[in-house]
Symmetry: C2
Subunit: 225 residues, 2 copies
DNA sequence: ATTAAAATATGACAATTATCATAAAAATGC
DNA sequence: GCATTTTTATGATAATTGTCATATTTTAAT
């Protein structure tokens, strides 16, 4: 069982506010496991009894809609925490988390996390900061969703993916999303998404090589948003 | 200068976690003032140096878009706090708050609020809960915006307004929003909004008497969402 | 009270986007 | 390796929504 001290999650999440003793407590109660691509880490409606630390891999946080589609609210990657919000509100989950790649994660029970809130004000403050940051982003996303065209939103999404997950040497997006997932992120029909990708390609903005999406002209993409 | 103890904001916001001593500190440093309909309480880009307690009145929290329109992210009413998020993140405001009615508010300086985070874990926890609740709502709004039609969103918005601000005996919405504001909340063009209101009227869902919007058939409105 | 300005309403039309059909390409199973 | 299923792609068309023009009504100003 690792010590958590060098863990990437500790570096990037609100866990950075924990001191050595607290980290040892986490290390002693955590459960490490792997999640295969396509499997759910959390499901809508479930009650959470802890948080999940993402050590490697990527997952999507999505909400199912009446018509069977799923809208992706955000993507989560290594270094981040999952399930904080529901833990704090003590509510069932309103979103489902599904692995987009094989993942390595740790589960930390609720009781442990909650105890830190009482004893470590820095930790509370870090969590608060994280949640506020999420809120700010959510507000931005909402306004974009309301005001921007699908075309603009696709451009924004591609740049977001490049920004968050990086690109290969040839500017190909690192994340491999299916067209359906991409359209779920943009908030549009699959066909519209595919059609617009084709248009982007024709306009020299991107290249499509197999499943890979290559940002050919990032400047013009950015100008479009 | 009032004691804050019986204040409505204290009852409904995270300030409820403050004890008597802390309340006295707030009472001694707060500034009460009035804001006229149409005036801004906060402006996008500004740096906040405190929070605003809403004692009476309603305001909108909105973001301006490139094309000059403004999208209303949410409405805030008596008992709520304004500016928490930016205070915590120590960032400039990403949204503008404008009074929709004459308002009575109190300003509490940043230093005071921040000190409570260090000394009162309950207060931190209450703020955290509030922000998490906001975040959950924001996620829901995002998915609605992405997946629902303008027609459905208008219905959802009307029900939200009835729910949050109440109705008169004759089921007329208590809040008086202009069509422009209503469309900014729904996320659509003013003309589309007006047109749909007319349709709703023709379908017997609502009645339009002057500026008043009367929910005539709430059941069918709700069924539509 | 009268005029001017703003808000609301409606029509005509264009642009965007979704839906359905179908084909081509890629991935999967045996 | 071949058949089958899934994913990606494209066309045709319909539905939704936005834009512009123009009344009509309401509000505000003098």
């Amino acid at each position: 069982m690792g010590s958590c001290e060098q863990c990437i999650v500790r570096q990037f999440s609100s866990l950075k506010a924990l001191n050595k003793e607290e980290l040892i407590k986490v290390a002693n109660c955590k459960t490490s496991y792997r999640v295969k691509k396509g499997e759910n880490l959390f499901e809508e409606g479930q009650h959470v009894n802890g948080v999940i630390c993402i050590k490697s891999g990527i997952c999507k946080i999505a909400k199912l809609t009446d018509n069977g589609k799923s809208h992706i609210v955000k993507l989560i990657t290594k270094g981040e925490l999952l399930g904080q919000r529901s833990l704090i509100n003590d509510e069932s989950l309103n979103l489902t988390a599904t692995a987009l790649e094989d993942m390595e994660v740790c589960f930390v029970p609720k009781a442990e996390i909650m105890s830190f809130f009482n004893t470590n004000p820095n930790f509370s403050m870090e969590v608060l900061r994280t949640v506020c940051e999420d809120l700010k982003e959510a507000d931005n996303d909402l306004v974009n969703m309301a005001q921007k065209s699908v075309r603009e939103r696709l451009a924004i999404t591609l740049l977001y993916l490049a920004d968050k997950f990086g690109t290969d040497e040839d500017q190909a997006l690192h994340v491999q999303l299916s067209r359906e997932e991409l359209s779920g992120l943009v908030g549009t029909a699959v066909e519209s998404c595919i059609r617009l990708l084709s248009e982007f390609k024709k306009d020299g903005l991107i290249d499509l090589v197999g499943k890979r999406i290559i940002l050919k002209n990032e400047r013009d993409l950015r100008r479009m948003t």
